[in-house]
Amino acid sequence: MASQKFQRGSSSTEPEFTTASLPDIVFMLLIFFMVATVLRETDIKVRTQLPQAEALTKIDQKRLISKLHIGPLKRGENQGDTAIQIDDALIEDQRTIRQIMYRKLQEQPKLIVSLKVDQESEMQIVNEVQQELREANALRINYSSNREGPPPS
């Protein structure tokens, strides 16, 4: 019985994995990660070192978020004046924030403005931006901050 089985095994040709479809599988994974990867969304012209906090909430719906950066301008080694950046553009006049936000709110009524403020900024500019957001009726905000201590691995 046993010898018969052995014989049958030896008579057949050497079994082999078919690796022909392996590249296909790998390519499929590759394409997924290529699509999911965001190398850098926007060119951030201001430095935003976020503060640390404990009572954090996550925003899972990325499409609701509009980012607003406040921080000193990046100018090589030394830092410039505090500036505001929305999407790709620096804001020259603070009064334009309300128009920009109002337009964004028309497109996305559940808009959340994520304030990415440098931790060394002063409250005056934050308050002014908040007043502008109130003018635009963009009331849902989020003070972007990182988890306290070293980031969880």
Binding site: P23, L29, L30, F33, T37, A53, T57, K58, I59, N142
Partner: protein, 202 residues
Amino acid sequence: MPGLLEKRRSDRDEGTIPTAGMADIAFLLLIFFLVTTTINVDTGIGMTLPPKLKPEQKPPPVKERNLMNVLVNASGDVLVDEERARVAEIRDRVKTHVLNFGEDPSLSASPDDAVISIKTDAATPYNTYIEVLDEVWMSYREIWDQIARTNRLPGPDGGTAGLEQTYSSYREYYNQLGPDEDNQIRDTFGAQISIAEPDTGE
């Protein structure tokens, strides 16, 4: 000459592209994108700004006893109800204020009435502001933790919070919520944290 060319062509077997290395190339690219991908989630402290008031409109009145004023000045000193306090004290101060249930006449009448107001100076560092705001939120978080663990509302006549089960923490409860489910803990025990109107200098 033409004979040579013909001969060479006929010598060759069917030309095929070697596909053995294809998988390696694909793997290499895959690993690169695997490493560079950051499916990062935006984290932060969520707030809702008060709606814009019309010029003739006055802010809604809040009884003095229900209001807890937290003032932060430019050098990061904190004043809680006209008393100096350390940042680390805020958490307990907020808790005693919110969970007073009318006992102390200078503190809140009930958790639903309690309002924490945070006011900053123009030159207050943003870092300090977030630190203070975080402490206030954390004291609410601690109360919510308590509710999630016991499924009972705090207070002398604390009824059931209406949860289906108990959780080890508020975070655990929050994480299992679906996107369209209501946050029952926050609905029954809300946090009223207000960012005070900045001085206009008038």
